[in-house]
Subunit: 406 residues, 2 copies
Amino acid sequence: MRGEPDAVRSGPASQQGMRRANLALVLGVIARAPRSRAEVAAETGLTRAAVSSLAEQLIAGGLVVEEGPAAPSGKVGRPGTALGLNPLGPGGLGAEIGVEHLGACVVDLSGEVRTWRRREVRNRGRRPAAVMADLAELLHAAVAEAGLRPAGLTLAVPGLVGTSGGVLQRAANLGWRDVPLAAELRPALRAAGAAELAELPVEADNEANLGGLAERWLGGGPEDFLYVSAEAGVGAAIVVGGRLLRGARGYAGEFGHVPVHPDGHRCACGAHGCLEQYAGEAAVLRAAGPAGARGDWVTLLAGRAGAGDEPALAVLAGAGSALGIAAAGAVNLLDPAEVVLGGGYARLAPWLLPAMRAELAARVTVRPWSDERLTVSRLGRRGPLLGAAVGVVRAVVADPGRLAGG
Amino acid sequence: MRGEPDAVRSGPASQQGMRRANLALVLGVIARAPRSRAEVAAETGLTRAAVSSLAEQLIAGGLVVEEGPAAPSGKVGRPGTALGLNPLGPGGLGAEIGVEHLGACVVDLSGEVRTWRRREVRNRGRRPAAVMADLAELLHAAVAEAGLRPAGLTLAVPGLVGTSGGVLQRAANLGWRDVPLAAELRPALRAAGAAELAELPVEADNEANLGGLAERWLGGGPEDFLYVSAEAGVGAAIVVGGRLLRGARGYAGEFGHVPVHPDGHRCACGAHGCLEQYAGEAAVLRAAGPAGARGDWVTLLAGRAGAGDEPALAVLAGAGSALGIAAAGAVNLLDPAEVVLGGGYARLAPWLLPAMRAELAARVTVRPWSDERLTVSRLGRRGPLLGAAVGVVRAVVADPGRLAGG
């Protein structure tokens, strides 16, 4: 409704806005599958002439290419040329700062992965500048290999970004506070010889948020779900109507600090009985001793559990139960269509699911809960980085006028 | 974006859609405060001629009236006549089925209360038909007194409606299951001599949802908040971006069954340690014995606590602590701008707040939590019925074409 007055007015500003919206409309149709101009016109309700002019602009902007004759549609007349996304068009660059690794990923306009690089690095306690130097090299190499020019860069980080505009406010597992991510990364990119990447728009988001978005975009997630994930910490993404619920200040999803045993173990956050104390690295450390701290705890725990190690199985049963209690509270509160185990939990799922299912069945009773609503992400630990890279190209498709001079 | 093609096409269907949207646009402006036609034109971007034609239709439909000369605007020229909402236009009829009472409320188009009726009735275990007979009489009397013709009727109920289309699926405190509310109410209205009310569109919603909406619409609630309320049961409404989060199947807000002490008291739902067992009627019954069951537990408890009764104060401190634990989990998950104590909790707030504040401060630590984000509803127990009635007129203002022949 709010958009209507623009459509009624006839000033140049409103025509420009309409053209920009129509560019997005046309590109959105082409992004779903290649179409002829006539098919685009039929699907959008735009005239054939308008579609031709908009397509011209998208082609000139490098977003769309002619793919050869469109498949015969059964209609009378010569089949048009199919328009498709330009496989060499602008790409999306994703970067991930993990506690035990760095990642870089380039996707093309269709969201297809073109390069994927991961490097194991112990980042805990390192200075941001040192981490950014390593990350810049990884990004430089990934982009060079992909042969695409990224339209933007999104960073997945294990901490709180909120609505701060790209400041990593707190990442307990890295030991970082108030790190201005873009300002730290840009000089590192220049030093690594990737000056063109230093000019890109940079965004940053919490890894669980990006994992949840990837689940929605690529993993077949429904419109409404709770995505629960573990990396260094425990987090969640709440997807409502296909969009991320970010909260009033951008801090939604702090699932790791939901109380599950209010009088239980003291958490690093100061509270008692947080989920993270039962379903995260802390639980492993407590059960396995400081040896658990070497390397990635998820890999470690999966290895031990796979070998039938009793303490590891006990830790995982306890983690599943704690996850089930916290998830039951969230389900009662939010009524998601699914709870999705993502990130490190996807790998640990075989050992988490039995206890988690039991708690959900026992605690979500007013409305029937069914086991199949608890699912495991196919994307697993790749989710956050995929979400970062794909988010960039989705933003291009949603508003191509920004790039194609709309 | 999706709306754009309509604006581009020029068929009659799209012109009708545009006129209907513009009717809403004009009425929305007038609903905020009386305006002259020229002011409406300036504010909406519509031409003066279009505004005059739309205003004519709104006047003919009984939604708008000429209020006399508009206040001088300081501009050159004769001041126009101010257009305002018709105080005798269609109203909103709200009804409430409580465990211990029935309620009826009529508001005018501006949301002003015209009649408010409440009757104490013990509805627990009564058959729906008997309750509906009492409610129909109350509604009949309320509408007759108000002298307004309602545009619709919304029922606030202490149970789950979900996306069932008006079936009260479960109301444990009434002992009702799968009650088709409109089908039960309509014959009762006819029998009460209110045949015209039996023809109204009837909607139904959970009392906490309607209380949360009332808080947003009338109580000064922010864009994002968690509204927590107690009547017979304990419920919540989650407001995100000014709108209710309903969940995948419409069951969001079952705050009463969030686990707070996972190994604690057994709940009527079958689970252990649900919030309702510590912050609802069950807690009172457990502490005070069956005597607590007589009459409304909130009133009873407030009375005893006000008189300094130690067991009552202990129950309330425990309830505040349990509420704080559950609210801390919800805040970590959702990051609302506020947590609002509504319904019966608003009345009990003086005794709940200290323990609740302490738990929130101890358990929401990663991001700073401040006491003033825990607030008490000014609407209190009037919220759900107000939300029911006001929702009807808000729907009229949002789409007057439905009534005014758009």
